[in-house]
Symmetry: D2
Subunit: 361 residues, 4 copies
């Protein structure tokens, strides 16, 4: 029970189902005195919205944010920031034909197992629509982190079998939104488009990977031994719909490395001692080193596909299923702002835990 | 601050530094009335101890558990279970030559950044010795879970460049301890030994992967949207020393899959509706399906290597470093019981959260 | 930071300022499958509303609840229950003359000390208007507890110097709302009215005491040693605006008693062993005995009075102050549903903690 | 479940039963770099020990503290501070005759209701012996608070029918330990002694009140709306064995006051705006004003008395009971350091929450 709050000192509580009247969130513990640019929050929501590319869902979800608590005179008050996002374009009738059949790999099955009454329409609480709440909350945190020169930039590094084989150091992460699939390398982005054209033609869907970099975090953030930075960050990422894996630094690749290859020697740089390389991904012992934190988040292909599938209905009788509605071929590009938002929530919470962000700005 | 407790309804608080007088833990929220076999707790600790193979550290750490609270007449009372493990074989002098130099990729650097006073000997609080506390606590949970026919079995699936390419369904996970490196396939285990012979000859270290399976969990466990099963499990794994990545089900591989490949259709089986395949790894929407949960945990190579390294001392002057002492070539086999323990803590906590384990047994 | 959530397994997060667009709450961890009668929630809000007697504020606050999450087909879904209450009758201009002066014993002073930006109108976040959120959330819990035959009944036992000297056993607690000041003894209620007539004539305000009884809780609820029932209950009561004290059972009176007077012998009754008397107030060692829990909550007089007061302005210059606006002479009768609501939240949360309320009804 | 931890950013986890091998605690979140004087911790434990006066239990409990984690070179490291206190003088046989009978108002009854297996000897986990853990942890916090010039001083203000009718402002709180019953007024202390002589002669016990003052807290501490200072403080006090009530400032007395009497006007003093009087007890809206926080804690008479009592055995058969053993006539003087300790834990935790105590000293 009671799993709808994330964070310790800065806490997001999320509510709303995909086909209820609205979704929303309460962000508690946000410092007072910060000028808030609501338009930037709205911009973040727009980045997540469907209908941005030919591979996303053609649904229109305007996702207009209304802030109802915690801001006065365009400035945070220290009171909980609460915001609402109305559901305005839900077609519940799209789901009528799905009411009595279990869609393969859809959470409606486990929700039925866990809860004696659920709103089946559009996934209810399990819908990825809930991620809009995260994006809004994360956008507040990004404004807070910006004061400390901390930035968070995500991008698409893999879609299906097409992957980007370049370090983020060689990419212009500020240009991500210039690419249709948020892969900031023109050729790879083009290959991904071609791949998704095929997937779309098959009425199928594709998985992918979002990579992300947190820059500017000071050394000393993260709380051993259980609230290590990577634990809190990993939990945040794994709470996103469709996420199947998380790694940071050299990640899974480090399993095949030798200590002598993986170790980052220390050096004196600009009068300070710092790691000379950053295989560690900015974290040692669960605490930030002051170097960039970089990590990857793996997404499975969305389960709702147009292709015909065999499954059973709720009585257990075999059923054939073709899911209509307006679904994404690949949600990975739209997941970029969600990953960034969860990273911002994590970084801000752990900065506060470490005493590095104060009650008043 | 205050990051030394993990869990919500069943909580482990850990304490102790590697070269203090002892380490220990407090496990709070454990149901009353369970017969506890202390020998099994001791056996679990023995599995983690160094000195078991030629690739582990030759240190002897007897790790004798003493339970001082929460058990009466060999049965849990509902009071917090507290236990102590004395540190009896620490050679603090081994660390004298390391006091003034930053070891590449060692957490002593970040601990110095975060805390104004630290016990540098043997890593202090950052030492993997702390994982003995987790193993003991997890062993209590495994006895609890066994009542519900839930079992947790880990094994080594990769060491360095040698990996096991078989599904766990084709392995005998009960035989893991018969293999020197806990890889339950004779030929792969042999290849791993050969690989580690080379690494050892180079005075280097190797990373690897532990895979793990949780069987027997009923459907309905996990608390959306933030305390999804995989979030809580992933955070627990990422809190283990040297862990760089976590995935479950098809994990990172799912990023390159199509929905039609990845989806698990439902079927009627033994009168119940269940997924016919298990690409999902036993979880949909963060809630258990009733199928096995399987996951991987990636470990970097340990940073303490005998090979000469360039780094700087605490004043920033260049220094050459050869780490003596008694270190592991590869900690991955010894990490198997640690991974199992963290999985047991997670499963028991979430079972209680879901109302499926009761206050009294 | 982040103090706007209460509860562990059943958690209320509250938001909104008195002169913002709305207030509201998110109740997370509420079991699924419970039929919810929204009219009863509304009725509870109406009981708290001002304008009910000549001694309350003449403000009209219709306090209409709108539930936006967690209910589907009039039944709880297990998703967080979120609700909104619009602020429709705020006269912000009433507060203009208070903007630059510190009102004696008003929290505007400490909010200014703590937060660098606050909404001064009507008390902002410190306003007792926030208690409407508690009443709504508590009313959901009362519907849940009713299933387990647990009832919560509060009443006014003291206003100013007039106190009710009868045990609750001799009162008809179901008739509380028949009395103008919620004191269920006609003569005492009459004396209280006369007392408040005087206070009102003096443009002053009065304190008082709310007493409350929780009946029907089974034995075994409460989590030693820190989350004793009375700790969690007391914290909930002390979080209500204007509360200055809490006691239960014989409370402060027990300090002057002897053990032989205070002790409750055990007896066999209806085949069960139970305390023969209930000086303990239903709790031993922080755990329910199965007898009634009764407790008292002391309220100070509201600080906003019409009488002229000496104080200083925000520059520290002496100032005379006459507070206009529409304030309560005595909020104690209106506090009865607030006390009941916080008791309901506490009882439901601790029932869940004890494994006695399940995930699904 | 899991109620043995208190605090949010600074957390005490307590363990041990009265007749097990030891009790102990883990204090997590304590800043690093503080010089710790262990003798002062021991002194605090000695103040709580029985055998100090003729009215306390004649048991000898040496209560020697052993710190096993978190201190290095006499300085805190930021790692959890763990400490052990051995049980060396328990006479378990004293409790044999109590095993099968329910002692009136003793928690053995509710523990039996809640837990299927308990250690009945000496109260097990419900024993007031557990408060030694609180005293030790609080003594660490008092050393921390002293750095910020915050002091906490408790005293006995009532025993049975004898009460001290003076404001703390007119008492020398530093001299408390010079008085046999910790009531710092010679005449009242003498009256209390006479009263307890009578009670002792009757083989009975007496309740009482501890009053306490926290001085030096800056304005701005406390986290509305639920983690108000008084909520957290009250919960801490109500978690102490035998406590039946808590109030602060004018407390229950404020219920009979008028607003014009109770209100504290503001004034300019030493260049700062502060309340001119302190009826509020140092708190407005749950946040400190910078003035003293003063509060009272009511204790019931201990239930274990030598006088013959009627009750039933565990089968429900009537039984006569005379409790032998070595019990306190009045625990209130010994409760003074316990109240101070819980106040210190609360103040330190909320100072950290408010960002006013830092990670490193």
């Amino acid at each position: 029970m009671a799993g709808n709050t994330i964070g310790k000192m800065l806490r997001l509580t999320s509510f709303g189902e995909s086909h209820g009247s609205m979704i929303g969130g309460v962000l508690d513990g946000f410092p007072s005195g910060l000028n808030i640019d609501i338009q930037k929050i709205q911009d973040a929501l727009n980045r997540r919205s469907p209908g941005q590319s030919t591979f996303g869902s053609p649904r229109k979800e305007p996702d207009v944010i209304e802030v109802v608590s915690g801001i006065y005179d365009n400035m945070s008050t220290g009171a909980p920031i609460a915001f609402l996002i109305k559901n305005v374009n839900q077609k519940s009738s799209d789901y009528d034909h799905l009411k009595d059949v279990y869609r393969p790999s859809h959470a409606a099955f486990t929700y039925d197992k866990k809860y004696s009454n659920t709103d089946h329409r559009g996934g209810g609480r399990s819908s990825a629509r809930e991620t809009a709440v995260r994006v809004a909350a994360g956008a507040f945190c990004q404004q807070l982190l910006a004061l400390y020169n901390i930035s968070i930039m995500g991008y698409v590094s893999q879609i299906g079998t097409v992957s980007l084989n370049m370090s983020y150091n060689n990419l212009d992460l500020n240009s991500v939104d210039n690419y249709s699939l948020r892969c900031p390398d023109a050729e790879t982005n083009r290959q991904m488009e071609l791949y998704l054209d095929e997937i779309k033609a098959e009425s199928d869907s594709s998985g992918g990977i979002v990579s992300c970099v947190i820059s500017g975090l000071p050394a000393g953030v993260g709380e051993p031994v259980y609230d290590r930075f990577q634990s809190v960050l990993g939990a945040a990422m794994l709470s996103i719909n469709a996420v199947k894996g998380f790694d940071y630094g050299m990640g899974f690749q480090s399993a095949s490395m030798k200590g002598s290859e993986h170790n980052d020697a220390f050096e004196r740089r600009d009068g300070m001692i710092s790691p000379a390389s950053n295989n560690a991904g900015g974290l040692l012992g669960g605490i930030t080193t002051g170097e960039d934190i970089y990590f990857r988040v793996a997404f499975k292909p969305v389960s709702s596909i147009g292709k015909m599938q065999q499954t059973v209905d709720k009585e257990g009788n075999p059923a054939e299923l073709v899911i209509g509605g307006r679904h994404d071929v690949c949600i990975v590009p739209r997941a970029v702002p969600v990953v960034e938002a969860m990273a911002a929530l994590t970084a801000a919470d752990l900065m506060i835990m470490a005493g590095m962000i104060h009650t008043n700005i």
